[in-house]
């Protein structure tokens, strides 16, 4: 019972740790958006368990961990999860490969919106590096999808 209740929060915490684990500078710009991937899976699979509120809280955590002004990640993640939850019935019927394209688009949107918000607040300039995680998120989505689906089926999460 406990395991069932804590699976989603625990998977999000693991995603947050993966988001801040140090990587060599060479691969650092390719870090997939773990938080976005995990939130996307739960938003599509169990939209009544995880939706905008969960994304908002995860976003606050990410803001604290990454040192951005409070509210940036929470705003961006809330909008991304809203898009997924609003279309979850259609997205579930897509194949995993089609879903990974959706995730790539969502990840590009996530990074552009985040850049745009921070550009309004500080004087940063756009670099194409900022969009690299889009590609890796797309590649990692099928694996994350299969892993999380197995987890959900084994624990019979509803």
């Amino acid at each position: 019972m406990m395991a069932r209740f804590f699976t989603i929060p625990f998977s999000i915490i693991v995603a947050l740790v993966l988001q801040i684990v140090p990587l060599p500078a060479l691969v650092d710009i390719y870090r997939p958006d773990w938080a976005l991937i995990v939130l996307s899976y739960w938003a599509m699979a169990l939209p009544h368990r995880l939706n905008v509120a969960g994304a908002f809280i995860t976003g606050i955590g990410l803001d604290i961990l990454l040192g951005t002004p409070l509210g940036i990640h929470s705003l961006v993640l809330s909008i991304c999860v809203f898009i997924l939850v609003a279309n979850y019935q259609r997205l579930r019927n897509y194949s995993v490969w089609q879903q990974s394209i959706v995730i790539a688009l969502l990840s590009a949107f996530y990074h552009l919106l985040q850049f745009w918000l921070l550009h309004l607040l500080t004087d940063i300039y756009f670099r194409y590096d900022y969009l690299m995680p889009t590609i890796t998120s797309m590649v990692f989505w099928p694996w994350a999808f299969w892993f999380l689906r197995r987890l959900r089926r084994q624990l019979k999460l509803k």
Partner: protein
């Protein structure tokens, strides 16, 4: 099936609430700086995650230490002994100079610069957002760290504490786009403001007139104005001066003296008096 529409507010309402709440948070946090105490609690609450993320590199470092050969240790010992010997020799002259400086200041009735209490902290290898230059260190309020405390390494100023938690804190580096430090040229005491460029090793001096005397190789030290950084610590070295008359101001670039890309240990300075000192002069 239990749909999301069967309980609580509708999805669109939830999104509207989240967007309004986020925008308020961004405004209050960034423009009004209103979340200092809340951030302390949130930072402390989330610091276990950072310690977990730090574990892999910690383990690597520990095993590397275990595997260091006897020969390497002897070589390192020799190198450190040499360094200490040279530093000790410099310090002998420094003691005489300090005494002389004290006497001169006493003659001028100027206040004698006090020594600062220092705390050593270690860098935590934790990722940050790609848009800014920050580092995390492993000391917090429990060790007496406070907000906007100045940090130096063995070569010069690194930056200042941006947020504190109970056991760790976030440091804003000199080169961040939102950071500026008041400096003066060691050669002729002209004052400048050095702002970060966002690059790893570049600062630029703001509003330098074409007539001001600044040359490549000038060393810039903190002037102590503003009260955040104590006066007299080396900050940067001028690397490029471009006096293009078509531009409003001269373009002056400088490189931080601290090894900002290779930080391992940092020294936090506790100071109260730098502001008053500067005012008297």
């Amino acid at each position: 099936m239990d749909t999301i529409f069967s309980r609580g507010p509708s999805l669109a309402t939830r999104l509207t609430m989240a967007v309004i709440l986020s925008c308020t948070l961004i405004f209050v946090d960034h423009k009004l700086d209103g979340f200092q105490s809340t951030r302390l609690y949130l930072n402390s609450a989330l610091s276990p995650l950072q310690y977990i993320a730090n574990l892999p590199s910690l383990i690597l470092n520990l095993s590397a230490k275990k595997l260091t050969s006897h020969q390497d240790l002897v070589a390192e010992n020799q190198r450190l002994t040499d360094q200490l010997f040279i530093a000790g020799e410099k310090l002998q002259r420094f003691a005489v100079l300090e005494q002389e400086n004290k006497d001169l200041r006493a003659l001028l009735d100027a206040p004698i610069a006090a020594d600062y209490k220092k705390i050593i902290a270690e860098l935590m290898s934790v990722d940050r957002n790609p848009f800014s230059r920050q580092i995390m260190i492993n000391k917090g309020t429990l060790s007496g760290i406070y907000r906007s405390q100045a940090l130096v390494d063995e070569f010069g100023v690194i930056g200042q504490v941006m947020e504190v938690g109970t056991t760790n804190s976030r440091v804003l580096l000199l080169t961040d786009v939102t950071h500026s430090i008041p400096v003066r040229s060691l050669r002729n005491n002209i004052r400048f403001i050095a702002s970060g460029s966002g690059g790893i090793n570049e600062l630029f001096l703001e509003h330098v007139t074409h007539s001001s005397d600044v040359a490549v190789g000038d060393v810039l030290v903190s002037s102590g104005l503003g009260g955040v950084f104590p006066a007299g610590y080396p900050v940067a070295k001028v690397t490029k001066v471009d006096k293009d008359e078509r531009q409003e101001f001269a373009t002056v670039l400088a490189m931080p003296l601290a090894a900002l890309d290779r930080i391992k240990y940092v020294l936090l300075l506790e100071h109260e008096t730098s502001f008053q000192n500067e005012e008297v002069q």
